[in-house]
Symmetry: C2
Subunit: 225 residues, 2 copies
DNA sequence: ATGTGCTTCAAACGTATGTTTCAAACAGAC
DNA sequence: GTCTGTTTGAAACATACGTTTGAAGCACAT
């Protein structure tokens, strides 16, 4: 085969189109024509569209979770028994994402956007696939978060983790559009690394906010059910 | 007409189905059969599926933006010249959302989920519609945020607002699923009002975090490009 | 050269979608 | 009752989708 393998060409095209338009909104015909392969190739090599979606995620998630595991290993070894801080844990995650070997310059933002979509577009099969394939590093991250925030109640921690995930998934999943807006409005350019560097302190501060269930300012007297 | 108007029945069914499944994943046939009206009724009364989507948003967004405007009016009047605080601004928004007259008990979470979807599912026509229809209260909210955080640079503020939007949109758009998980895992029940009461302090703390562009912990030495 | 296993190709399959059509049903005014 | 404008109904429209089919193409061992 002179040109790159059909399988990889399909994965590349699918990855980009999924990230741009979502899963249901991307047809196999778009993918195969962008990849310059025959329509039937997807079903031949992957079996179905859903299986292709899984393959797209597997291709970047498997090396990522390996990187993440070793980053956590290193972090825990360095901390020598005492639990890593919240900042250290968040940075370990961020670095693992940013350090991943990229296929091209858009790699990291595609990566982020796909993760955001996986959370947002409630594709049942995808969630099931991710849960049974990558539950381990996820559970470990949760454990680290728990040990780094012993002052929080389980319920508080649960919700604040959701807030963190939301801020991250949302920002990263639209980072391209947001960067464009910022470039046009304020004339500044931003890398994904810089976004991450702004995001982590935001998350850490929110995670450690002192007063949960703060009542609204006294003057406004709404009933909190 | 004996039974509630066809138009309203369509809107009710569409609202619920869109919130559950997203826009592309919800067909007109699902909507009309849930609403118990003829398939052609949607195109007769609204013109197209996209116009129906706009109508669904308009029905709750128009009264909401009116409520929000008066909440801002009241807040600014009470502050008498000096800019409202960040907490006050966020609470004004939250109260307006929570206080909205609901069609049923699921009203508020449907409302939130639809807003989240509007941001996430990049339907070009929807974004255009929302921008030209509701730019005013949005711009006012942005102005209040700016005045409440004079210590932030424009770029910092921009990104932190995106983080806030993300945490909010994401959490609210999956609030049902998240509440289910929490109920099963920790056996506690949560109302949307309580989620909001947890979210606001998180957002306020993140928004006012002191150190932006914090370098990663010294030991880890990653290059921030 | 001949056969073998994998891959590509064009074409078709069945199903689902949004939209249109046009006749029937209906309500209110005269 | 009859006419008029609006709303409903069943059916069909054209198009797009994911998937399947079976023949053709290809590399390589025999």
């Amino acid at each position: 085969m002179a040109q790159p393998d059909t399988v990889d060409r399909i994965l590349d095209a699918a990855e980009e189109l999924f990230a741009e338009r979502g899963f249901s909104e991307t047809s196999l015909r778009m993918i195969t024509s962008k990849a310059k392969v025959n329509l039937a190739a997807v079903n031949y090599h992957f079996g179905s569209k859903n299986a292709l979606i899984h393959a797209v995620f597997g291709r970047f998630l498997t090396p990522f979770s390996a990187t993440l595991e070793s980053a956590f290993d290193e972090l825990e070894a360095r901390c020598d028994g005492s639990p890593p801080t919240l900042n250290q844990t968040l940075w370990a995650l961020t670095e693992s994402a940013v350090r991943m070997p990229q296929r091209n310059e858009k790699g990291i933002s595609i990566f982020m956007r796909l993760l955001g979509l996986a959370y947002t577009q409630s594709q049942g099969h995808l969630r099931k696939f991710l849960e049974q394939e990558y539950s381990e590093p996820f559970a470990r991250f949760m454990r680290l978060l728990k040990e780094a925030t012993p002052q929080l109640s389980a319920v508080d921690r649960y919700w604040r983790i959701q807030f963190m995930l939301g801020a991250t998934a949302f920002t990263m999943s639209s980072s391209d559009a947001l960067q464009d807006i910022l470039r046009n409005k304020l004339g500044v350019d931003t890398t994904v690394q810089e976004i991450a560097a702004r995001l982590v302190p935001f998350l850490a501060a929110g995670m450690q906010a002192q007063d949960t269930l703060l009542a609204p300012p006294a003057e406004t007297h709404i009933p909190v059910a």
